[in-house]
């Protein structure tokens, strides 16, 4: 490249940048919002089970309900048609999709025996009979039938019960009936966590 060619090149460059600075270059497509991600997703109505308020949910999953698509929830928001919450959700409800897809969820009954730090998978049947056995043993040992005044109290203080919070009145009634009939005093729901 000689001196003259160099000057020509510089002049061409200056002209091109001048043209683009004046807005004479063809513009590219303008900013478009992100694509709406729920357009044809399968929408399922359900109730939030994480407290006793029972807010309505809309759950969106991959696939449009065809038999070959494996459905997996990717978005959850409030159900505006639900009379309880009319679309609104609390922070726990608003983040439900991460509860659903959490790798820390329990998928099956597990037991950690006394003296170990390992969780062992057991069957549902084993779990039920184990729980029943332990409850019976503990109740037989610690049940308080009468207090110091001789009044019948029927208390079982050494065990508590964590129940579901997503129950209708009838479910709540039965839960209480069961727990109180055993003498349980400490009853709480998972709404507390």
């Amino acid at each position: 490249m000689d001196r003259r060619q160099f000057f020509k090149l510089c002049a061409c460059g200056a002209t091109t940048s001048a043209i683009s600075a004046l807005g004479l270059m063809p513009g590219t497509a303008m900013a478009a919002p992100r694509e709406y991600k729920l357009l044809k997703a399968k929408e399922t109505r359900n109730n939030c089970c994480y407290c006793s308020v029972g807010c309505g949910l809309l759950m969106y999953s991959h696939g449009s309900n065809g038999k070959n698509a494996e459905k997996a929830i990717f978005h959850i928001e409030g159900d505006a048609d639900h009379p309880v919450n009319r679309g609104a959700l609390c922070p726990k409800g608003a983040g439900l999709v991460d509860y659903v897809n959490s790798p820390n969820r329990n998928h099956f009954p597990e037991v950690r025996e006394p003296g170990t730090n390992e969780w062992k998978r057991i069957s549902w049947n084993d779990a039920f009979s184990r729980i029943a056995r332990l409850m019976k043993d503990d109740r037989d040992e610690n049940f308080i039938e009468k207090n110091s005044d001789g009044t019948t109290v029927n208390r079982w203080l050494s065990t508590g019960m964590m129940t579901s919070s997503a129950q209708p009145n009838e479910g709540g009634f039965i839960t209480h009936k069961f727990a109180r009939s055993l003498g349980l005093v400490a009853i709480d729901t998972i709404a507390r966590n």
Partner: protein, 300 residues
């Protein structure tokens, strides 16, 4: 949405304006009523859920606020401002996200054409494809909202859920709000509702209750009802936000002058070419060379 929905675009001027066709589209707004907010953070969670943002889990910093600041992965943040009033601790919950100014400082500061746009409905949006990551918007924003991502070095902020708005839905934060502290609708409706609410608040003893809709940025697309309009600092809001003078100078004076300078240079070059012509060097003038030549031969 298309280019026709955009009424303001960074890197454009009055000579080359953005598409103007849908100026008549009604502007939308988010109304945040600080007097109704109980600081539950549902707005913050639904923002991160809808926009698929999961900021890394931070550590406890002595406040219920978490994270402590907005980031490229946290576009909506509940700020828990602690204020002392009458020797009592007062919490001032502030829904902090993009204010969607009518006269956005970020858009003025941005030199890249179309990287920051304002849609006909008033929403200010960033286009990360065009963003060059210069960070001018970050420093220009009077509300300190946009943030550069540490990985891709592009600026991000609340989009007012443009993807939801374009199909007619309310933003995710507004939908989830339990107490009704967040509302969404046309700007006209929001101003009307805010007016009623402020009258009610004043009747109930909050004599300084008022609407935060700062004039300095032409009004905002997120308006706020505050307990005390004389002290927006209590909510972490600037008292008089506006586009800073250097930013205005840069866009309104320096850049046009620069363009004019380039134009003038080209014009002068053309003029010179026509009037004076090329600087021709006469190649058959060997007088000076003769001398050196003879020197050389002397040495030999």
């Amino acid at each position: 949405m298309s280019a026709q929905d955009i009424i303001l675009s960074s890197g454009t001027s009055e000579l080359t304006p953005a598409a103007q066709v849908r100026r008549k589209l009604s502007k939308v707004a988010k109304l945040f009523d600080a007097t109704k907010c109980n600081g539950c953070k549902a707005c913050q969670v639904s923002c991160s859920e809808w926009n698929d943002l999961r900021a890394p889990v931070g550590s406890f910093q002595g406040s219920y606020q978490n994270p402590m600041d907005l980031s490229s992965e946290c576009w909506t943040l509940m700020k828990y401002q602690e204020v002392e009033r009458d020797n009592k601790l007062n919490w001032r919950f502030a829904h902090s996200a993009c204010m969607h100014c009518d006269d956005p400082a970020c858009l003025t500061a941005c030199s890249t054409k179309g990287a920051i746009v304002q849609r006909a409905n008033g929403v200010v949006d960033f286009d990360s494809d065009k963003c060059t990551g210069c960070g001018y918007c970050v420093s220009a924003c009077p509300f300190d909202v946009p943030r550069l991502d540490p990985i891709d070095q592009k600026a991000y902020k609340c989009t007012m859920c443009s993807d939801r708005i374009q199909v007619g839905q309310e933003p995710a934060c507004v939908k989830s709000c339990i107490t009704g502290a967040l509302k969404y609708g046309t700007r006209e409706d929001m101003l009307f509702i805010a007016d009623l609410r402020i009258k009610e608040l004043r009747k109930r003893g909050y004599v300084n209750a008022g609407l935060y809709n700062p004039e300095g940025v032409g009004g905002t697309g997120m308006i706020m009802i505050l307990h005390d309009i004389n002290k927006p600092q209590d909510y972490g809001l600037p008292a008089d936000p506006k586009t800073s003078v250097p930013v205005k100078l840069w866009q309104d004076v320096v850049k046009p002058l620069g363009a004019a300078g380039i134009m003038a240079t080209v014009a002068v070059a053309c003029l010179h070419r026509i009037t004076v012509g090329r600087n021709l060097v006469e190649e058959d003038e060997p007088a000076q060379f003769d001398h050196t030549h003879s020197d050389k031969s002397d040495k030999e």
